[in-house]
């Protein structure tokens, strides 16, 4: 498809997703507390965006969709930290966000170009612990569920 049609196609697709997400969030709020299907999670999503405008647009569009919320991004590692409301597994949210990003980048760029994403999870540390103490060389990847552990 040529470029202007890709933009229109993306807008139509996004409008559909936006309405569906609105419906599911509204339905879950109205459900009694015991039967809520909510499974929130904060997931690091590898992103293919490069320029400032791409980062701004993808994070705004994620936040605009009810149920997902960009908390922060890490440009140097190429990661979006996304809070999702209905997350069954890490992979499911990552696939949803990356599909939206693929479509957005196809609509924004005249030629899709480089859509590669970082595959290995980088070591992200607080600034003042940037130099890891010797003796933890094996900490090259995040544990998949880090919430319960305090490193």
């Amino acid at each position: 498809m040529s470029w202007p049609f890709r933009i229109i196609g993306f807008l139509a697709w996004y409008a559909k997703e936006f309405l569906l997400a609105n419906l599911s969030v509204t339905a879950d709020v109205l459900r009694p507390r015991r039967r809520m299907k909510m499974r929130p999670a904060i997931v690091a999503v590898p992103a293919a965006s490069r320029t400032d405008s791409e980062w701004t647009l993808i994070s705004s569009l994620i936040t605009l969709t009810p149920g997902t919320l960009t908390i922060t991004i890490s440009r140097e590692h190429g990661i979006l930290y996304v809070h999702g409301m209905f997350v069954d597994s890490r992979e499911q949210l990552v696939a949803e966000i990356q599909e939206m990003e693929d479509r957005l980048l196809h609509a924004m760029r005249r030629e899709p170009g480089d859509l590669s994403r970082p595959t290995e999870r980088p070591v992200v540390r607080p600034l003042d612990e940037a130099a890891p103490p010797s003796g933890t060389p094996g900490a090259s990847a995040h544990p998949p569920t880090g919430s319960g552990e305090n490193p």
């Binding site: 509204t26 929130p40 936040t63 409301m85 880090g146």
Partner: protein, 118 residues
């Protein structure tokens, strides 16, 4: 005359849909357990609620100038509410507003300076 009546009724329907969305998200503000879920739920009123009220008002009083105003209002509202939600969520995380217990994955926590500080 008939067509105008139908369009006006449609405008009323959109306005009441918007009011309903805003009421539901206000209920969500009370029911949901933490800052991030609440910010997500308020997104429904800030996006769909306000947009459909503006659309309803446009249908009830249609003119070319009003169409332009409505389009600008909807786009500006969507962009600013998204940026505002992100700013609130980020500020909350930096100020140690930890996600609720039911949050089953939290990969942002690995970047915190001392994870056990609450």
């Amino acid at each position: 005359m008939e067509l105008i009546d139908i369009i006006e009724a449609l405008g009323l329907v959109f306005i009441f849909l918007g009011i309903g969305t805003i009421v539901v998200s206000a209920i969500g503000l009370f029911k949901l357990p933490d800052l991030y879920l609440r910010a997500s739920a308020v997104g429904t009123s800030a996006g769909l609620g306000v947009a459909s009220i503006v659309l309803g008002a446009l249908l009830m009083d249609f003119s070319g100038l009003n169409l332009l105003k409505a389009v600008i209002a909807i786009i500006a509202q969507l962009l600013t509410s998204a940026v505002g939600s992100m700013a609130i969520a980020r500020a909350g995380y930096l100020n140690n507003a930890l996600p609720a217990e039911i949050t089953h994955i939290d990969e942002l926590r690995l970047t915190r300076r001392s994870p056990d500080r609450s």
